[in-house]
């Protein structure tokens, strides 16, 4: 790619790049491209290839065709729950946590009292890693020694917040949202600050009420922020891993695709072929979102 620059420049008789610059440019572009291929495309293609094999990481690689996928769908009891949990996670973050973050951002932007205090309090959890959030969740929600159960003091029939598979996912999603809300809030806050106040004034002169002003005028101008928040939400939902792993290794109601991949590939088990098949499923789902996003973006860029 870099080599086309001098030729075109030559045609225009504006030779702006010396040979040395070309080399520097080539190296500077070449290294990232090489790294991209080695670090991203290589493993991706290797995963896809390995997903059709049985391999324990040491001995011979056995070709098994589509068996891994068939096993995954038919025989692996953790697979469908994991898919369901990932979807729930996405919906929860997308429909509850993200709008709530926007709501807080709007409130703070309108200048409620102590807004700076709220702002920093809500943003605080964002500096924590999700694994740490998981540990905090355990301190709060543990069965015997957790803060909530200690306050409830119901020793005979304690609520098993993190062990009961019908509620633990919700508890963990709330804990994850605690962090996500702050993140979304700060992004929207930045976006709201950059909205031209004249737009709001114009809307007010036209007789729009506060709700109409927000949904018809302010929100559409936040489009770039919306896109970023949307992407972050999807990424957070698909890569969710550390928090459930910190809580119970992602078992018993907290299965996620990312955890199944880890368990199969890097655990003592080393079912690398089988784990790769799960990874390919996750890749396909991610690609679905990435492609949609790119198409939207490119179309949006053209329209503008």
């Amino acid at each position: 790619m870099a080599l086309t620059f001098p030729r075109r420049a030559g045609r225009r008789r504006l030779r702006r790049f010396t040979r040395r610059d070309v080399v520097v440019l080539g190296v500077l572009l070449g290294i990232p491209i090489l790294l991209d291929i080695v670090i991203i495309w290589g493993p991706t293609l290797a995963s896809i290839g390995l997903s059709f094999t049985a391999w324990d990481g040491i001995g011979d690689i056995h070709w098994v065709g589509g068996d891994n996928y068939k096993n995954l769908v038919d025989n692996y009891p953790a697979f469908w729950p994991a898919v369901r949990h990932n979807v729930l996670w996405l919906l929860f973050l997308g429909l509850i946590a993200t709008p709530f973050g926007l709501f807080l951002a709007v409130l703070i932007d309108r200048g409620v009292r102590f807004s700076r205090f709220y702002q920093s309090t809500l943003y605080m959890p964002v500096v924590l890693s999700l694994a740490v959030v998981g540990f905090i969740a355990q301190l709060v929600l543990g069965t015997d020694q957790g803060a909530i159960n200690t306050i409830l003091a119901n020793r005979d029939d304690p609520i098993d917040w993190l062990g009961d598979s019908s509620i633990n996912l919700w508890m963990i999603m709330i804990a994850a949202s605690w962090r996500h809300v702050g993140y979304v809030m700060i992004l929207y806050l930045a976006g709201l600050k950059s909205v031209d106040p004249e737009l709001k004034e114009a809307a007010a002169i036209d007789g729009a009420n506060a709700r109409q002003t927000f949904f018809r005028v302010v929100f559409p101008t936040l489009r770039p922020v919306n896109v970023i928040v949307g992407v972050i939400t999807v990424i957070e939902a698909l890569r969710a891993f550390d928090i459930v792993y910190a809580v119970n290794k992602g078992r018993n109601g907290l299965e996620l695709l990312s955890v199944l991949i880890t368990d199969n590939i890097i655990g003592e088990a080393s079912r690398i072929g089988f784990g790769s098949a799960i990874a390919v499923v996750l890749l396909t789902v991610s690609l679905g979102f990435i492609v949609t996003f790119l198409v939207q973006e490119l179309r949006g860029a053209r329209d503008r």
Partner: protein
């Protein structure tokens, strides 16, 4: 972990002392990239340069404070005796296990701690371990059962160090105060559990970690179906849909109502502490588990009884007594040094040194001094020496991929929903077939 991988690191000095220009910066960056990647590549090719013959590195999974300190005492004694240094790299117990495959293929320590039986043989089969038959012939004080657990296809790989039996543990004083009797048969056991539950001190139970409940499964299976069936089931030869297996789950379900609630959210440490606080009456545990949760001055109050008899044909013949010990990885850089250390660790004195710091286990060597044993340790020795068969543990008697990806979830599912035994057994069997159809190595 990998000490040698950084030996070749060159700190790029080009950026210092000169006025920074763009090209200098680039040059510096290129050197930096080279310096970072080159040693990594070199060490990936295998042996780093040299390797200190007077230093033996030990990969340790003894991350809990009590065993960690006890091991340190034994290694210090070896350092004094031999004049060599022992460098211990301790990793979290569970992490060590989960990363074992990559550990053995990467840059393992000279000697590492591991488990006896199938779980060792699996890696021997894969060719990741060094045979130590030559030094095994000189070992004394190890029984044939121990030799068996250290052997794969006629070759020895493993130095056993200590073991601990699984049984039903409880507080002596609590049993006296409440007038409870140790149970010998299953019916007595259920009656006892029911009585405890009625008194508001249920049976302690935890399976958040995924493995503690396996002990109960193993014992019901051993008592109801015998040791041979356990072995065959774990080896993938018997079917999980066999009525015998369903019977195990059915028996287990009888006990479920008397457990403390919320087992899946409770760690084994918490269950052990509830036993210590007299909130629960008894628990199926390995010996170190309650031991580590009790303060030292209360350890004398711990007592146990053998898991009750179910089928008189099998009585209380089998005892689950996992053995821990040492192995040498194929990629070890100092095999001779590791073997020397192994010879020391196989002596009764080395075991005594360890047990002084961690009296929750029992020495494997027959010549080890038992006069300092606590009553509990003496009782353990008796329990194991009277056993007709010794099993290891569910996750040590079968393939690791089966234990970790199938059985953990299966048993947790059973605890969460004890009713659907048929569905559960069918699911285990289907997964077992796919996993066992793949060859080891």
């Amino acid at each position: 972990m990998a000490q040698s991988s950084f030996k070749g690191l060159v700190v790029p000095g080009s950026a210092t002392g000169h006025r920074m220009s763009r090209r200098n910066l680039l040059r510096g960056a290129a050197v930096g990239v080279g310096a970072v990647t080159l040693p990594a590549l070199l060490s990936a090719c295998g042996e780093g340069p040299g390797g200190n013959k007077d230093e033996v590195t030990v990969g340790s999974n003894a991350s809990d404070p009590v065993p960690k300190k006890a091991y340190a005492a034994a290694f210090t004694a070896y350092e004094k005796e031999s004049g060599k240094t022992v460098k211990v790299n301790t990793k979290d117990h569970n992490d060590f296990q989960e990363n074992i495959n990559r550990y053995l293929q990467g840059t393992p320590d000279d000697l590492f701690m591991w488990f006896a039986g199938y779980r060792m043989q699996y890696f021997a089969e894969k060719g990741l371990l060094i045979e130590i038959s030559d030094i095994w012939t000189d070992f004394t004080g190890f029984s044939d059962a121990l030799k068996d657990q250290s052997t794969h296809e006629g070759k020895q790989y493993f130095v056993p160090y200590y073991y601990y039996p699984w049984a039903v543990f409880h507080r002596k004083s609590l049993f006296e105060k409440q007038g409870y009797e140790q149970a010998r048969t299953w019916d007595e056991f259920i009656a006892l559990a029911k009585q405890m539950h009625g008194d508001g001190i249920p049976v302690a139970f935890s399976d958040k970690d995924g493995w503690p409940a396996m002990g109960t499964f193993d014992y019901i299976n051993l008592r109801a179906n015998g040791y041979e069936f356990h072995k065959a089931l774990m080896a993938g030869e018997e079917s999980w849909t066999d009525p015998k297996v369903k019977n195990v789950f059915d028996l287990w379900r009888e006990l479920m109502p008397y457990y403390q609630k919320g087992a899946l959210g409770r760690t084994w440490e918490e269950a052990g502490q509830s036993l210590q606080k007299r909130e629960t009456g008894m628990a199926v545990f390995g010996m170190p588990h309650p031991g580590q949760q009790f303060p030292p001055d209360e350890r004398d109050d711990i007592d146990f009884f053998a898991f009750p008899e179910i089928d008189p044909q099998y009585g209380q013949d089998a005892v689950e007594a996992p053995i821990d010990g040492f192995l040498i990885a194929k990629k070890s850089k100092n095999v001779e040094g590791a073997k020397e250390l192994m010879k020391f660790l196989a002596t009764p004195e080395a075991e005594e040194l360890y047990l002084k710091g961690d009296p929750n286990n029992v020495a494997v060597n027959e010549n080890a001094d038992t006069s300092t044993y606590s009553a509990l340790q003496k009782k353990s020795v008796e329990l194991v020496s009277n056993a007709k068969q010794i099993s290891q543990f569910l996750d040590r008697d079968t393939r690791p991929d089966f234990a970790s990806t199938v059985m953990i979830k299966a048993i947790q599912d059973f605890i969460g929903n004890p009713k659907d035994v048929d569905g559960l057994c069918n699911s285990i069997e289907r997964q077992k077939k796919t996993i066992f159809s793949q060859p080891v190595g």
